[in-house]
Symmetry: C2
Subunit: 255 residues, 2 copies
């Protein structure tokens, strides 16, 4: 399936599942849509938190066709969306056309799926892909840098990595600063404020085997945690794992 | 002189000259101050033009003390300022306290002085320092990516580099993506739309010797060219070459 074909399938309601493993080689993006009145605050939040929020593209108010996905429509071409109102998850939907307004500013944010291809290419196994589930994600006790009305915890994704491969995993992902880059933390989940790895806040739990360390990367769900923590009146995001697949190549994002 | 001492000298009116070569090892920054109503547009302009406009820090509306220069006051602690009104250079001053308003948002943008230290350390000679003048800067025919009300030409700085040292100069500056990074162009000024290297648009002309190539880096004066080209009603900047000296270390900006 090409990215354009997948987007058309989403638009037609024929694809409503996670996008992990689809359209090999193409960049997938987190979505955050906010009213223009808080767009400066959110762009500043991204600028101050480049690890969890690396900006791939910003669409000006009212625009729905990204330069990185010509012919796409952000209102329909993701498999699943979340709508937050006043700091609460209000609903999950498969399109948001009926909610669209001319003052909405859309942000596409880099996603770790891009560097997972590079990790696999380097021979680093990825447990959530082996188990056929979504990557586990956790709210941490580490605050993201606040900006205007946006504040909240850093969210991280976790991949169990065999101890001998940890340096390789750091080096490979460090080449991709536009998709979260190197890990923010290796081992010791307690020092991030994560109590129980078997109970992620987003995504699915995965097995950690003898001789493996939990390795943590900054995660593009951080804006959703900020929307919850900050009580932002209204925003639309992708549902975790249900990304926009763009026409950019992962190779284009290597630093 | 420490950065704090230099800033105090600026504040007292005792230093009103360019800052090139001062406070070795510390990051110097371009300044752009805009009203809140165009702050999103300008931050997006920076996001879309990371080579000329690498953001070091953004101060929210009304704030004048940067995190990167504790105790400083942006209204007084640069040696010289420019004030633009309606797309024209209105005046040049040594402080802007009397013009300050609570809705002004300040941007600190990386400056090539940071990588010049690394170039010199690698044995690359810098002509404008040898000649004791400001680096020459040119408006190009290459448009920066527009964002909202901001549009204008890419501005570049030029350093003549001996042909054999060009690859080294590219590699050394490429390690500093937060201060313009690698050159945008080597040789052939005509293809950038630069007609006469002896007549820079900002700064001073320098000699280009036999066996040297003109090498061009994206320049932090690009926002000033955009203020002119876009007819922004009001903004305050540093005067070219007269930078804010921060307490950050150049080494902190290496990629």
């Amino acid at each position: 399936m090409t990215p354009a074909e997948l987007r058309a399938a989403c638009r037609a309601g024929r694809w409503v599942r996670p996008t992990s493993g689809l359209c090999d080689g193409f960049v997938q993006a987190n979505l955050m849509v906010v009213p223009a009145e808080v767009a400066f605050d959110f762009l500043l939040f991204c600028q101050r938190n480049p690890r969890p929020c690396p900006v791939i593209e910003v669409l000006e108010a009212g625009r729905v066709e990204p330069a990185s996905a010509r012919g796409a429509d952000l209102r329909t071409d993701l498999p699943r969306y979340r709508v937050y109102r006043d700091g609460r998850l209000a609903e999950e939907r498969t399109e948001v056309s009926g909610l669209w307004r001319g003052d909405l500013v859309s942000f596409l944010i880099g996603c770790s799926f891009s560097f997972e291809e590079a990790l696999q290419g380097a021979g680093v196994p990825l447990r959530h892909l082996e188990e056929g589930c979504n990557v586990p994600m956790y709210r941490t006790a580490v605050p993201a840098s606040p900006a205007g009305r946006f504040r909240g915890p850093l969210v991280v994704s976790m991949r169990p990595i065999p101890a001998a491969l940890v340096p390789l995993a750091v080096q490979v992902t460090g080449r991709y600063p536009r998709v979260h880059g190197a890990p923010v933390h290796v081992g010791a989940p307690g020092s991030l404020g994560i109590g129980d790895l078997s109970r992620p806040d987003f995504g699915d739990p995965v097995e950690i085997r003898e001789g493996e360390l939990p390795v943590f990367w900054a995660c593009g769900v951080t804006p959703q945690a900020a929307a919850l923590a900050s009580g932002i009146p209204f925003c639309i995001t992708h549902a975790p794992g249900h990304m926009l697949v763009t026409d950019l190549r992962n190779a284009d994002l290597a630093g």
